[in-house]
Structure formats: C-alpha cells, structure tokens
C-alpha cells in the first residue's frame, strides 16, 4: 500500500477491483464506512456480487481476466473528457518525456517494438526516453557524491545522469502523453463491454464516478488484491492501476493511493526481506550471473544516477557487513562472492521448483509455514513432484497437506521414498517478534504464553539447524564451507538465540560500538537513528535499510516497548489518521508514500483540509515525514517537481521501460480463455506468458471446457486452512468449499442448492458443494452468453475437523513474466452434478 488502512476514511471515491475487502480484509470495512458515511462513493468491480459489493453504491460485473480492457477504456474516457489532473500529470509524471523514435505498438500483431522472436522476449531499448543532456556525479571533496570514493568504499564507476527530452506542451507525437492517448484510443466503451461483459450504462457510471477524482483536491483510492495479481499479466494490472492513479493525481494524497490489500500476516515483511529468488532484502536485487556477477557489477548496474537510490552502495555494503561481520572487508569485496549467484537458467521461482523436483534436480525442500501441496496451482502435479524429493522439512502447527502429501487420496505411500520431518512451531502469541501490515506498519508481538508441549518458535528451529550444519562443516569439511562458516550468526542473549539482536541487525548499527552476542545485563549497542547514517565504507552494518530507525533507542536496546516500534500513543495529532506516534512505519515513519504529490508545484496542498506537507514560503510544514528532499545541508529545499524520488527520473511513469511484457498495459486474454479472438489486437494471449509450454500445464480449450472459473477466499476461512480449519468455530461457520453458480447455469445443468457438483478440466476433477445464487449472472461476451463460476479453495485431505477435495488441482501453473505469479483467477472448467 502506498497509503495505510486508516487512510481509507479520507477518500472521496473508493474502487475495489480484484479485491473483496469486506470479506478478506474485514478491518478495511471500518475505514471505508467512515468515508462512506461522509458521502464518499464506493464502487465494486468484480465477477461476483460479493459481500463487499453489497456495501457499495455501484456494482459492476466483469469477466475474470479482462481488467486491462477495463482500465484502457477508463484512460480513454478520462482523456476524451479531459478529466485528468493537469498540473499533476504535467509536472509529476513522465507525460512530457519524449520516447525513442523507434518506439511503436502494432495493434495488428499485438506486439510492441523490440520483440525478439528467437529469444521469446522483448528488448526494451526502444521503450526508453530521448536524452537531452548528460551530467556526471561530483565526487570531488565536498561534492554531493564524495562518499562514493571515500576510503573503504569499493571501487565502481558512478552512473551518468541522463536528462530526458521533454515537451511541456504535451503536443510532440513522441511524448509519452501523446503515445498514451493514441494507444488507448482503441479502447472505446463498446469494445470494453464486449470483452468484459458488463453493460455500457453501468460502465459509464463507474467511469464517470471514478474519474471525478481527477479534480484537484479530490481523492480516489484503489483497493486491489489477488484478483489483480494472479494473472499472466498481473504485474501489468498493477501498473495499470498505478497509471490510473497518476492520471487522476491520486498517488501521495490523503485518501488516495494504490492499495494492495495483502493477504498474509507478514507478507509485507517477507517481501521487504526479499525472500524471493532474485530479490535481496529491502528492495535491492540478489546476486546473479549477469549484471550482478560481482560487487562492482552490482554497484554499477543497480545504483541509480539520480534520486534516493543513488545511495544503494551504502545499503548493499551495510547489508554485506551485517551478513559476514568482521569477515567482510573491502579487500574481499565485503564477502559478496560468498553469496550464491542466481543463474539465468533454469528458473527457480515456485512453479518452476516443481518442474525441477520432477526432473530430479531439487532433492531437499523446506516449507516454513507454507503449504504448496494445497496452495500451488496444478496441485496434483505438485504432490507428484514432491514425491520425488529425498527429504522434506515442514515447520507448521498442523500436519498440512504438504507434510502429508504421501497420504493424499491418490498417492501410494509405499512407492514414496521421501523422508519427511515435521517440526512443531510456536503460535503467534507463544513467541515475540516483529510483524508488518499492508500499510508498512512495523508492530511488535509480545509473547503471552509458553509454546505448548514441545513446539518451538521458528527462530529457534532455524538456529538449531544452522548450528548443526556449521558443526558438521567445521568437523568434516565439505563443498566450499566458506559461505557457511564466514557468515556472522551471533544473535544470542545470555547464550540463547534471541530475536532482539536480530532486530538490531535489521535496524542497523555502527560496527565499532555493537556486539550482537550480548548479555542482558550489559548490552553494548550503537544503533543507528535512521538510514541517513548508513555508510558504504564498512563502518555500518544494516540488514534492512528501509527499516532503519524502528529500533534505535540505545538506552534500552533489549526492550521492544522502549523502541519506536513499541510506541502505543494513539492520540493522532494529524487529525487525518496518520497515527504517527503508534508503532513505526517504514521508511522513516512515513505514513503516506509519495506525499510530496499531495501538494501543487508551489507546495500548496491540493486539499487544504487534509494536509500532509505544505511549503509555507520559507520552510516545509511536515505533518507526515517527508517523502522527498525537504532539506539539504540543514536548509529547506523549496518545492520542485521531484515528487517520486525513488525513481531516477523522480517523476511517476505513465509509460515504463521496466516491464518484461510491454511499456504500456495492453489487453491479452488469459492462458485459458473462452474467446477465440482479441478485438483490441492480433495477439490472443500475452506473448510473454510464462510456462505455457510446459507439458505439466495441460491447457484446456473452450470447446471442451466452456466455463470461466476463478478461485477466491471467504471471510470465515483462510488460505489452505492450516490455521482456520483448526478452529472448530470457523469450520462450523464455513463447513465446506463450494462452487458458486448462477441460477441460469444451475438450471442448464440440473443442479440445485446443496447438490454435490463435479468441477473438472485437463488437470483435475474435484467434487464440491453447490451454491446456486443470483449474485453471479451469465455475462454477454463478444455477443455470446458466457458462464462463470467461482470456487473457494480452503479444504483438502488433511485435518481433523473438516476436509475436502483440492481445488488447486484445477488451476493452471502458468504465470506472469515479471512476477512469476500463477494465474489462479481465470481458467476454464466444465461442471456436472456429481
């Protein structure tokens, strides 16, 4: 989220798209209702009339998987009717930037310029800007970048700043605005309705209502979730929403923002932590074999020429210093080469790991509170692949489907040679620790009771395994032991593993004054007050630069309650719900990201009633922590157009060269689609879709499987049920999984409420209960009736209170080319009465 939960109260229009927030993020209701009572309009765009839709003023149905057509039509409407936020778009976005003359989109083929047929991917060369001039970093003594050549800083060639060519009249045909306008002129409302399946009257009402937030001082909030991301163009959906919010001037303002309602308790933390193949903690990139194959290459490819990410060397060196401690020196590139480098091939993201298990490449597997046998797409393939593992370790509180894959109804344990270890974990209130919510708030969990019986916190399990592995390598040697034995692992208080010194590592500290391995009686720390103090010379250590400041009180370094994260003052001086004195929000306790954009070019807030930052003529009045350069060398910096200083251009991107599958969102059909053509371009599917050619995906076509299916969660259950199915009250409240069917389709298939229904496709077949409802209606797509069904996915064979079939046996293991996220939200099935 660029905003946070309490900020929804400040919105003038709220649009849920791909999010059923009332059901899956129930606390959102509290804050949306506050806006609603104040007179805000609430729109829900969803294939189903959900519990959220019932709350809303406007409900607009949509065929699963056609969101980009919807957004494209909305852009077109906004531009045609001149409803975009002029001052914002002109100054704070790249609308005026001139694109490379070779940039092109060909509607006849559906390809952007730069397609490499042989490689099966785009070269983004022609998606870049034209360059007006270049400047270099001033690394001379006293210069802005003198730090880059200081002692202890590894040698690297600083990037050159390229100043893009701009046309502030927005008339040049090569400027982003004109190209954008041209691109979406094809998205007229009739075409959109024909693709998406809603009626034109409803669509126009949605468009006019949401576009009304383009007026300066008005705020529109977009709330989205997995309904947007779980597509073969999910990342483009996310970009599409960002672009919408930029056009209407809704990013950075109170009540606006692009708000990903995230679904796991600490998924924000895990994303921040970069627990993903190619990611590094705190939104840096992990080492690889190409542009990040050495420390120098990393610094040269990753450091931005301008904006805040010019500081990346400080972040990375501090990360290495925390990782390897005294073993990291400037002479050995701070240990960079001990880190594993991710090869270009094969792919190691989640869906690919099951191919690699199937091929015998991956032999050992850790599942830390995650249950892929239930949650991964094409789950039948997943369990058959896992059966080829030598060993599996599952840390959880119940015997999940993954822990018991060998007990699945279609498996024969005698034929499975995998050794499976189940490690019982402590519950959330049986251990202390840090957790982040969707609004980037870092909060502290206090331990209330001891873990029951022999259960242990995951940090303790991990420590036990790590120390034992180290012991083996110390005693026996083995394949290069250095990456293991040079790693600093010293998070002990009074000799016991403890999360608090780990918190110091996350916050960052001066190496000279800090000992992580400590006693409770005399802890020695020199914790950093914030990331502004990080150095690239090895004198500071910090695992998570974005968190720096959250645990910075050296007077009580072992007491969470005395740290910024432990604050419990809910008085909210802002009056608009920033709650800046409650806990801590990264970065730098900033509650609304990009808050510079809440004020005009003169620094005057668009909405004087809701001030985040304001230029008073000689200084900034900062209600929220500034997300821009408000002062330099102790002096206030007057307002400028650099509202997005985490990008090198420091302007928001309506067009982006950074995506694998095109610089502008373009409508393509899902991997499995009920239609045979794409009225908007000559390509049916995204040419960049991942894994579609893998044999395991077993594509179905619409002649055999004519019904569009989507999966989703209900409020009474959660994910694979590992937690919710162990609570009898929740099983009672939602005793089984069901398929939601329109009355029309039910009549056609002879199905009645409560019947058992078989839902099937090439990948699997499941029997679930029927929920026949008025809340799903057949849509008219390309002039034909199109049925759509919805499936919940919380049950499977494991558990003692409630079990069922595995709905993810049906979902396709194909994914987005940027995020490698699976397409759970649109695929084909057929149904029959069981």
């Amino acid at each position: 989220m660029t905003s946070h939960w309490c900020d929804f109260q400040n919105a003038d229009v709220i649009m849920n798209i791909g999010s059923n927030s009332a059901e899956n993020h129930p606390v959102s209701s509290k804050w949306i209702h506050k806006a609603h009572e104040r007179g805000a309009k609430w729109i829900v765009v969803d294939p189903r009339y959900t519990r959220t839709a019932e709350q809303a003023d406007i409900y607009c149905p949509i065929r699963s998987g056609t969101d980009i057509a919807f957004y494209g039509g909305l852009y077109n409407y906004i531009i045609e009717n001149d409803l975009w936020q002029h001052e914002y778009v002109l100054n704070y976005t790249n609308a005026s930037y001139l694109l490379d003359p070779e940039y092109e989109f060909d509607p006849a083929t559906g390809f952007f310029s730069g397609w490499d047929e042989e490689a099966g991917k785009y070269s983004n060369h022609s998606w870049h800007y034209q360059v007006e001039s270049e400047t270099v970093w001033d690394t001379s003594e006293g210069g802005d970048y003198a730090w880059a050549v200081a002692e202890g800083v590894p040698e690297f060639t600083p990037p050159v700043v390229q100043h893009p060519k701009r046309d502030m009249t927005l008339q040049d045909p090569l400027c982003v605005f004109q190209q954008f306008k041209k691109h979406y002129s094809r998205y007229d409302m009739d075409t959109v309705c024909s693709i998406c399946g809603m009626d034109k009257e409803t669509l126009e009402l949605v468009y006019s209502t949401y576009a009304s937030t383009g007026q300066p001082g008005k705020a529109g909030a977009v709330l989205y979730a997995l309904g947007q991301t779980q597509h073969t163009y999910g990342a483009q959906n996310t970009r599409a929403m960002s672009v919408l919010q930029l056009l209407l001037g809704n990013i950075g303002v109170p009540g606006g923002g692009l708000n990903a309602l995230r679904g796991e308790p600490n998924v924000q933390g895990a994303t921040d932590m970069g627990m993903l193949v190619n990611e590094h903690p705190a939104y840096l990139k992990w080492a690889n074999t190409t542009d990040r194959s050495s420390l120098r290459k990393w610094l040269e490819s990753q450091t931005y020429s301008d904006g805040y990410y010019t500081n990346k060397p400080k972040f990375l060196i501090s990360s290495l210093k925390e990782w390897f401690g005294e073993n990291a020196t400037v002479e050995n590139d701070y240990g960079y080469d001990w880190w594993p480098k991710v090869p270009t091939s094969p792919d190691f993201t989640m869906m690919s790991t099951f191919e690699l298990m199937d091929q015998g490449v991956i032999k050992g597997y850790f599942n830390w509170g995650m249950n892929p046998c239930h949650s991964a797409p094409n789950a039948g393939f997943v369990r058959r692949s896992m059966a080829k593992l030598d060993w599996l370790v599952v840390a959880d509180q119940v015997a999940t489907e993954s822990a018991t894959f060998w007990k699945a109804p279609d498996m024969n344990p005698e034929e499975i040679d995998t050794t499976v270890y189940f490690l019982p974990c402590a519950l959330i209130y049986e251990k202390p620790g840090i957790i982040l919510n969707s609004g980037r708030w870092m909060q502290y969990r206090n331990k209330a009771v001891e873990p029951w019986d022999m259960a242990k916190p995951d940090y303790e399990m991990c420590d036990l395994i790590w120390r034992e592995v180290c012991r083996l390598y110390e005693e026996e040697g083995g394949a290069n032991p250095d990456p293991i034995l040079k790693t600093k692992w010293d998070y002990y208080v009074d000799g016991k593993i403890d999360p608090r010194p780990v918190a110091w590592a996350l916050n960052g500290y001066r190496v000279a004054g800090t000992e992580c391995n400590t006693t409770s009686a005399a802890p020695k720390t020199d914790l950093l007050p914030g990331y502004g103090d990080l150095k690239a010379d090895g004198s500071t250590a910090c695992a998570m630069w974005i968190y720096s400041g959250f645990w910075s009180n050296n007077d009580a370094p072992l007491d969470a309650a005395e740290q910024p994260i432990g604050r419990r003052d809910n008085s909210d001086a802002s009056g608009i719900g920033l709650n800046s004195t409650w806990a801590y929000a990264w970065p730098n306790n900033r509650r609304i990201l990009y808050n510079r954009a809440s004020a005009d070019m003169a620094g005057k807030p668009w909405n004087p009633e809701k001030v985040l930052v304001e230029w008073t003529g000689d200084k900034w009045n900062l209600v929220d922590a500034a997300d821009f350069v408000a002062a330099k060398n102790g002096k206030p910096v007057p307002p400028n157009d650099k509202a997005f200083f985490m990008l090198w251009e420091q302007n928001g991107r309506l067009e982006s060269y950074g995506m694998a599958d095109g610089p502008l969102p373009e409508h393509y059909e899902p991997f499995e689609t009920p239609v045979e053509s794409n009225p908007l371009n000559g390509a049916l599917n995204s040419p960049c879709m991942q894994f579609a050619r893998n044999e395991s995906t077993r594509k179905g076509d619409s002649a055999e499987y004519p019904i569009v299916a989507t999966t989703y969660s209900v409020t009474e259950m959660w994910q694979t049920g590992g937690q919710s199915r162990m609570c009898p009250a929740l099983v009672e409240a939602m005793p089984s999984q069901f398929v939601e069917i329109s009355e029309e389709l039910a009549a056609e298939k002879g199905i009645e409420k409560g019947d058992k229904v078989r839902v099937f496709n090439n990948r699997g077949s499941v029997v679930v209960d029927a929920m026949v409802t008025k809340r799903i209606k057949p849509l008219t797509v390309h002039g034909e009736t199109q049925h759509l069904v919805g499936l919940t996915h919380h049950y499977s064979w494991a558990g003692v209170f409630g079990t069922g079939d595995t709905v993810n046996d049906l979902t396709p293991n194909v994914g987005d080319p940027n995020s490698f996220t699976p397409e759970y939200k649109a695929f084909l099935v057929d149904i029959e009465k069981a």
């Binding site: 796991e264 998924v267 850790f366 509170g369 119940v398 015997a399 040679d417 029951w452 995951d458 719900g577």
Partner: protein
C-alpha cells in the same frame, strides 16, 4: 505524551488486569461493579499481539492467568481495529485451546501437532522423533545434498557458490527476525530457490 492506558504497563508488554479496575478508564463508570471471582478475566495479565491472518495488522489482547491463555480479543487501543476482530481473528484463541462439545471443558486443540515427527521412506504413517535426532538428521541431509550438488564456479569460471538441489518456501507467516534468519541460513547454504507467499 498521551499514553494509552496499556502504555503504562510496558514491562515485557504485559499489563496486569486486576479484575476490572483497569477497564473502567474507557468504559461507562455507571456500570462499574466490584469484580467477582466468577469474572472470566479476574487476575489476568494482558499481552498485546498482532493478528495472524490478513495483513491488516489488527491488535489483539491476550489475557493470561497462571501461564494459560484465558481470552483473546481485539485491542481497544489499537488505532486500526479499535478493538474489533473479524471471525478468524476472533477465533485465534482456538488455535491453542478449544471447548470440548462433550464435556464443555477447555482442552488443547486436538488438530495441533506439538511434537517433532518423521515419516520414513515407504512408511504409511508418522513416527515420533526427538528434537535432537530430527535436527541432526536434517542437518546431515542438508550437508549431503549440498555437498553432492554444490556449484562453486560455473562454466565461465565465475564464482557462483550455489546448490540447485535445495529449495526453501515460506516466510510470510514468520516474524521479521525469523524471516531474516531463515533467509540468511538458506542463502549462506547456497540456496537460490528461495520463495515465499509473496510470489503467489
């Protein structure tokens, strides 16, 4: 600073709820009565925690008496949920303890597994294993797999230090300190197949 009432009791995050006395600050004084021994929360300590379901970050209050969880509900001081909890959050008590329908007594949740177990090749059921043995075996497996598959340099001579043979999945359920330890352990072992719930 305007501390909330629970802010005063910050040692280890615990607050001591001496009967109902502390509750009265925000409740209707007209209804105040002396706590009696039948009062569910009599002599409980309160610990604040954060919900384990969606990423709303709702605050909860765990009421504990003699080391056992007595009640769990929304933290009324929390600025996001203001005391509320959805059905899943409201049932977090049951992750540990449930009410037996036969006896109507509070018992440990029978679905929870609280001891290490191992399933041997070809076996059709679990067997118990001690923590010590489980850790020893896991570490041995990790080392054997790593040693057999480790790639120190690739075909171009580049130092790569990875094993393609071990994968690690998960992290969004853990606290951040745990995420860092898991990530650090896995990466230092040479694991490149690190992924978590954020992928899906």
């Amino acid at each position: 600073m305007d501390l909330t009432r629970r802010g005063f009791f910050k040692a280890a995050g615990a607050t001591f709820a001496a009967g109902a006395a502390f509750q009265l600050a925000s409740a209707s004084p007209a209804l105040a009565v002396e706590p009696d021994k039948n009062w569910k929360l009599v002599n409980t300590e309160e610990y604040t925690n954060i919900c384990c379901y969606c990423a709303g970050g709702c605050g909860s209050l765990c009421s504990v008496r003699e080391g056992e969880l007595i009640n769990l509900e929304g933290d009324p001081d929390h600025p996001i949920n203001q005391g509320g909890l959805c059905p899943k959050g409201a049932s977090m008590f049951q992750l540990r303890n449930i009410v037996d329908p036969e006896t109507r007594e509070v018992v440990k949740n029978p679905d929870r597994i609280s001891r290490p177990m191992v399933r041997r090749p070809g076996a059709s059921d679990w067997e118990e294993i001690s923590w010590e043995d489980a850790i020893e075996e896991i570490a041995r497996n990790v080392k054997d797999t790593r040693d057999a598959t480790f790639v120190e340099t690739d075909e171009t001579g580049l130092t790569v230090n990875y094993t393609p043979a071990i994968a690690s999945l998960g992290g969004s359920q853990q606290n951040s300190e745990e995420e860092y330890l898991i990530l650090k352990a896995m990466r230092s072992l040479g694991v490149v197949a690190v992924d978590n719930q954020a992928r899906v």
